[in-house]
């Protein structure tokens, strides 16, 4: 044998040992794995949801809404700065499509001062001037970054919520620029999961503006810094739901980002589950200051633009704690506490797709697909032995080696084996005969020395690259080329 052949043989043995260790370990039970010496690989092959059952969700982050929020904030900020700089304006407002801030000045002579101010304080915006109006839009690159940021943030928040909810081995990944794929093995109640994952959970405490008549406010007589929100009240005896409008100040006193802790407790009066929260130092300070100066006023607890309750401030609250009461079940209160602890989503999410796979379907699939692989392999193995005799047996070993490499690679990469993946392995068995036939055909028409070992090595070497079955197809495209380079 040539030196290069010895090297190939050595390579084969090394690969066999490494991939074999991974492939075998992938099927050992967890307990046996833990007792193995530390140099042994301890990775298992993950089964896809279609094999083990669970919930699969595709969510779209409505990044437009995140951008709209940013524009709204910037427009409020701009108004304040115009006031400070004594620049009089007719309007500063976000346009109907929520893509720009439209500014109209009272005095056209102020235009340069206004542009200077925008340029120095609102660097993220580009401006276009028409007469005494300025149209401010986010720079495209900045807007794109903000959208990306919103999606990444959403992934973080969702992951956090799922972790606290307690799902084993969840997957939360972005799938396209705006989509998030969530996989929850073993979870068969998608609605609860969607509620938990999809709740925007923006918590804000607003001062109730009792000086404004609600009727008038609904007819449009609303002070510019007020807004109308609704409280949903369920009649405990009839179960009837009514929406009660409440006028509140737009600017929140405390926001959800200032929450340090949130837990389920039971109300001392009604004995119903409530979510009690504790603010961080910044929030506590703001809350204490505000409640000291507003005793006797009402404070609305607003979650995702819905008022949950609007209790009267009886005394200054100095310890920074409060509670949200609503018509919660214990489970709902538990989920809301998780959501508040893990922070709010930067933008609402929409469910594009949800799939629930029961555990039995996966088990049945594994059983029948495995049976198909076994029958298929036996058929191919027998064919090889009957047709090619000794060399067929050799090729059979190569084939098993090939399957070993596939499994080992899956384990090594921590990849996920799905049902079509198993089908692919079955096809690999069928297709790998091709390589063998091409090699044997070649060897049948040429006179060669020391062919056996070289041939076996050639076979196995060819298999190295055949990691996935699609690759097998494309590899086969080249395989009769590479044959000419084989030193037979």
């Amino acid at each position: 044998m040539k030196q290069s052949d010895w090297f190939k043989l050595f390579l084969v043995i090394v690969v066999f040992v490494i991939f074999g260790a991974y492939a075998v370990d992938a099927f050992l039970p967890q307990q046996t794995l833990e007792n193995l010496p530390s140099f042994m690989p301890k990775k298992v092959i993950n089964l896809g949801l279609d094999l083990k059952g669970g919930t699969h969700l595709t969510l779209e982050v409505e990044t437009d809404k995140a951008i709209a929020g940013i524009l709204q904030q910037a427009s409020e900020n701009l108004k304040k700065q115009f006031d400070n700089a004594k620049i009089a304006y007719n309007t500063v407002e976000v346009n109907a499509k929520k893509t720009s801030i439209d500014v109209t000045l009272m005095d056209p002579n102020d235009i340069n001062r206004a542009l200077d101010l925008i340029q120095s304080n609102f660097g993220n915006f580009e401006t276009k001037t028409i007469g005494s109006s300025i149209i401010m839009t986010l720079k495209p690159k900045i807007a794109l970054n903000m959208q990306k940021e919103a999606v990444n943030q959403a992934v973080g928040v969702i992951r956090n919520r799922i972790d606290q909810f307690g799902v084993a081995e969840p997957t939360v990944v972005t799938s396209s620029s705006r989509d998030i794929v969530v996989e929850l093995p073993g979870i068969s109640d998608p609605e609860r999961a969607i509620k938990l994952i999809g709740q925007t959970a923006v918590l804000e405490l607003h001062l109730v503006d009792d000086s404004v008549n609600v009727e008038n406010a609904l007819n449009g007589q609303l002070p510019p810094d007020d807004e109308v929100l609704y409280q949903i009240i369920k009649n405990p005896t009839t179960g009837e739901i009514t929406k009660v409008p409440i006028v509140v100040k737009k600017a929140p006193v405390v926001t959800g980002s200032m929450i340090k802790k949130a837990n389920v407790t039971f109300s001392s009066q009604t004995n119903q589950p409530v979510v009690s929260f504790e603010l961080n130092s910044q929030g506590t300070q703001a809350f204490a200051q505000f409640t000291s100066t507003h005793v006797g006023k009402r404070l609305a607890i607003v979650l995702d633009n819905t008022v949950y309750s609007a209790p009267v401030i009886r005394e200054p609250i100095l310890n920074g704690s409060g509670e949200i009461s609503g018509d919660f079940t214990v489970r709902q209160a538990h989920d809301l506490a998780i959501v508040l602890r893990s922070g709010s989503l930067p933008a609402p999410v929409k469910v594009l797709e949800k799939t629930v796979i029961g555990p039995t379907l996966g088990k049945d699939s594994i059983k029948s697909a495995t049976l198909a692989i076994i029958i298929g392999s036996i058929a191919v193995f027998l064919f090889m032995v009957v047709y090619y005799r000794l060399f067929g047996l050799l090729a059979d070993f190569a084939l098993m080696f090939n399957l070993l490499i596939i499994l080992g690679t899956l384990a090594m990469l921590g990849a996920t084996l799905t049902l079509p993946g198993i089908a692919g392995m079955a096809l690999t068995v069928g297709m790998s005969v091709d390589t063998n036939v091409l090699i044997f055909d070649q060897f049948g028409t040429e006179t060669i020395k020391g062919f056996a070992i070289t041939l076996a090595i050639g076979l196995i070497a060819n298999m190295f690259t055949a990691i996935t079955f699609t690759k097998v197809i494309y590899d086969a495209l080249f395989s009769n080329k590479s044959l000419k380079k084989l030193s037979i």
């Binding site: 279609d50 595709t58 779209e60 109640d189 998608p190 609605e191 929409k350 469910v351 594009l352 797709e353 949800k354 799939t355 629930v356 796979i357 029961g358 039995t360 379907l361 049945d364 699939s365 059983k367 029948s368 697909a369 049976l371 198909a372 029958i375 298929g376 058929a379 191919v380 064919f383 047709y387 090619y388 005799r389 049902l419 079509p420 089908a423 079955a426 096809l427 068995v429 069928g430 297709m431 005969v433 091709d434 036939v437 091409l438 044997f440 055909d441 049948g444 028409t445 079955f469 699609t470 197809i473 494309y474 086969a476 495209l477 009769n480």
Partner: protein, 320 residues
């Protein structure tokens, strides 16, 4: 021992090409007719949006009985129901609504099966697809198939010549068309799995074609005086053993997958089975005939031999 046929076997395939083409046109026509009669493809939920569920039902209830039980619920007013993957008591039910609350859905099904008790059915899978993601999937699937064909066209045009590339792609399109026709004929749904199967068929079939083309090219390189007809006949004949052995093992494995692989894999393995058979057949009876559509020599090298010499071996062929 190594060949099913004798190594020096030479079959006159070229004279039989016209029968192959007729046969293929017939099959394609059959598929088209089925599509017309059935008003287009049966498209899976992932492409059109809506809700699909797989139900396992006891008590030997048939499609009609399950339908009448469920139809009382508003959710299931416009449902379609069929047996799933030839498994007894497994049904695929589709409803054209994508705003579905799973809790309510489960309750409605429980209500429908009330008289048989809670153990009489089992929800194996529920799949709710919004309309937007559905059209997204459809777009991506078409792009994937077109790109794969385009990629193969370019690759073979570089490795061989443009005429070979066109011939390969024509035979691949033929394979895809026949597979699609058979899916319609036998009432299989177009799903994402089936699209994956189509891509696999394209990849597999091109392999067969390239091996035959490579042999034809080798024949021409070794003997530039060989006629087109001779080169094609010997090219196909010499690779026939290989074609039959490898195709039959792949087809047998796919058949086993189709028969024993379970209900979920049935649609995919049916497509693969049809596609692999067609792919093998087309690399012999469809791809090579397309080469005749191109005037002039098959290989650029042959050009150097001057027109006169080409004339010469044309004549010599007639003498033979």
């Amino acid at each position: 021992m190594l060949h099913i046929f004798k190594p020096d076997l030479k079959v006159d395939f070229v004279s039989k090409f016209k029968w192959g083409i007729f046969f293929s046109l017939f099959l394609i026509f059959l598929g088209l007719a089925s599509l017309i009669v059935k008003n287009g493809f049966k498209v899976g939920i992932e492409f059109k949006g809506g809700t699909a569920l797989i139900l396992q039902v006891k008590n030997n209830l048939g499609t009609g009985e399950v339908r009448s039980l469920l139809e009382k619920s508003n959710y299931f007013k416009h449902m379609t129901i069929e047996n799933y993957g030839n498994v007894n008591g497994q049904y695929l039910i589709e409803i054209p609504i994508s705003k579905v609350n799973n809790d309510i859905l489960n309750a409605e099904i429980a209500k429908a099966f009330e008289k048989y008790g809670p153990g009489s059915y089992q929800i194996l899978k529920v799949n709710v697809i919004g309309p937007k993601i559905g059209s997204d999937f459809a777009k991506k699937a078409i792009i994937a198939v077109v790109l794969s064909l385009l990629g193969i066209l370019i690759y073979i045009a570089i490795r061989f010549k443009f005429n070979f590339a066109v011939a390969s792609v024509v035979s691949l399109v033929h394979d895809v068309l026949i597979t699609l026709g058979f899916l319609s004929l036998f009432n299989y749904e177009l799903t994402l799995d089936v699209i994956a199967a189509l891509l696999t068929i394209v990849g597999y079939s091109v392999n067969d074609t390239v091996i035959i083309f490579d042999r034809i090219r080798e024949k021409l390189r070794n003997n530039p005086k060989l006629s087109k007809i001779d080169a094609i006949n010997t090219g196909i004949s010499e690779t026939l053993s290989r074609t039959i052995i490898t195709s039959s093992t792949v087809i047998v494995v796919t058949l086993i997958l189709f028969l024993f692989g379970g209900s979920v894999l049935r649609g995919m393995s049916f497509a693969l089975l049809v596609g692999f058979i067609t792919g093998t057949y087309s690399s012999i009876f469809i791809a090579p005939p397309v080469l005749f559509l191109f005037k002039g020599p098959l290989l650029p090298e042959a050009k150097k031999q001057e027109v006169a010499s080409e004339e010469m071996f044309k004549r010599s062929y007639k003498i033979e």
